[in-house]
Amino acid sequence: MIAHLAPHAPVGTAVTTGEADLWCTYAAVRTAAWLGRAGELPGSAATVDYLRSRRNSDGGYAWSKGMASDAWATFYCTQAMAELGAEIPKLGSTRDWLHRTWSGDAYAMLPGQAPDVWATHFSVRTMVELCHDDPPDRGRLLTWLRALQAPDGGLGWSPEHAATTASDVRACFYGVMSWRALRATDPDLALPWDGPALVRWMRDQQQAEGGFLFGPSADTSCMWATYRATAALETLGSGPAEKQRCVDWVLDRRLADGSFVRWAGYDVADVWASFCAIGSLRAMGADTERHAGPVLRRLHAMSCDGGGFTYREPDRAGDALSTAATAMMSAPEDPRQSQWRTWLAGCRLPNEGGIMYMPARGSEVRCTLWAVAAGAAGADPTAPREIANWLGELQNPDGGFGYWEGRGSDLVSTAAAVETLRLLGIPLSEALDPARLAEFVLGCRDVLGYRHVPEAPPTLRAGLQALRIRDELGQTTPGELAILLDQHRVTGGGFANEGSRMPDLLSTYEAVVTADRQRIPVDFSRLAVFLDRIGRPDGTAWTPLTPTGGGALADCLGVLLRDRIAGHRAELPALTLS
């Protein structure tokens, strides 16, 4: 159980990029579309360009330009383009990419990852509603969906989660909406769960004041849980037991200008609160028209110059990664340090003890690592134990961690969780199940090396992450790291994630950190040549081919590496990103 935190927006100072965020862009477009006002959004053509720029050559879409495709980003980009009336390019190759994420039973977020209900929901809907095709095996998918029901009646993130009765209204929503998408092409499709038990469990999450919890382990009603619950209940032909009380609770979450917030007492109206409030009111058949004006005005304020939207006014839309990166690359005596740390510490809001990428969103394991590395836990004495408890609850049944609750495991997130505990000084065995952790890491390994997810190609970074985790588990294998580094060392300088041709900053950073941990020397003169090659007038680039700087995160890694070469830092935090 997470201690109750004051649910107000973080104070202190954040670093903003002014750039659009895909999550926010989808929420803004969808909200306007629900209100029948998508045509009134500012910069629609630029927003479509922004969405299209997330498309990779493999047919999937990525959260950020240059990142790997994933199912969620693919749904958000294609759905938002559809809502804006734009043509979705090459849907056939998107459908082919989705096939690569099919596990045999359900969909995973990435090819080779274990399936979860988040990914399954997004991919079933993309496949059925946008690609107008069917999942590869409807029968097996329904069997998998059926196995999501836990003994308490609710749905879990995966059949393995359901076996531990980790039900959550978000998982219920994603499961129910997957079934709804399948039913669109087969109106007689039976509900794969015990419907009355599912409805009963969801209704039980409504609190006396009217809003919903994520599940029994949450302590504060929120708009996100309320939307997921009301929309799932509506799809099942039901609704909250106390419907009017729920409508009133949603309406009470308005600020003076008529826009919505996510929690009682929260003081910033963000895009997700608007999305969830309008979604909840629609699901309960309440009037949304009278909220359209205030919500549209708020969405206008969140639009970015280059297209897309962020969660609040762009010049005030700080994020945890940029803020943590700026704090880490700045001098310790910089007077702004305490303000940045205070803001980061404030990104811990009710129900989840980790740090959010953007305040009022959801806790994420990588953001928690970067913020803790930047000293955020020092700004709040309750933080270390609550973060450790959150990580304990986040550990998946397979022993690994995903980016956030319920998402399939990967080595980046698993290494981030382990490093966070190391930085907090909390032994692994106090917070996690070390035996299951070791099982997941070994499950990502074969004779060719370690993989980001169990069935992906082997990479340097996955190997480095696995070896650091094994170090913390007391399973260091002498010589293994030296061989791995030799395989990926680039002659000119730096390290490559795949092969030994193209070095990149993130792989090089992780290589140096891991080599330091095992006291393996790195040729600093070649490292300096590599760092010089990725220097740009506007900062540090991610690779020698990238024309511009990569922003605060790349600058941070570049500064930390230069400090390491100069001997100003004896040890660097093991920061992971992808």
């Binding site: 050559s57 240059g66 000119g492 040549v529």
Partner: protein, 100 residues
Amino acid sequence: MTVSSVPTLDSLRTRTRAVLAGLFGPEIDDLPADAPLPETLGDRYDSLGAMECVTAMEKEFGIEVDFVEHDVRYTFAQMDRIAEFVHAQLEDQAAFGGPR
């Protein structure tokens, strides 16, 4: 191989144009040799597109590009620079031996 066996710069320019046309389409045929590729091709010539270009040139000419030692971002920004780079690499190979 001797230095005299290295193809002329003009022929390398022609082959470079053909390699790029294979990657990015017929618009390359009419592109001035000193046109900036990142600006002309836009998103198609981001770091992944440039990587594809480097790989294709390596395969075509049997050379090896070092992404740190060589100033790839400058060299691979224009067709004439690419051809000159390839010419220099082939001359080096002819004189000292190389990866071919």
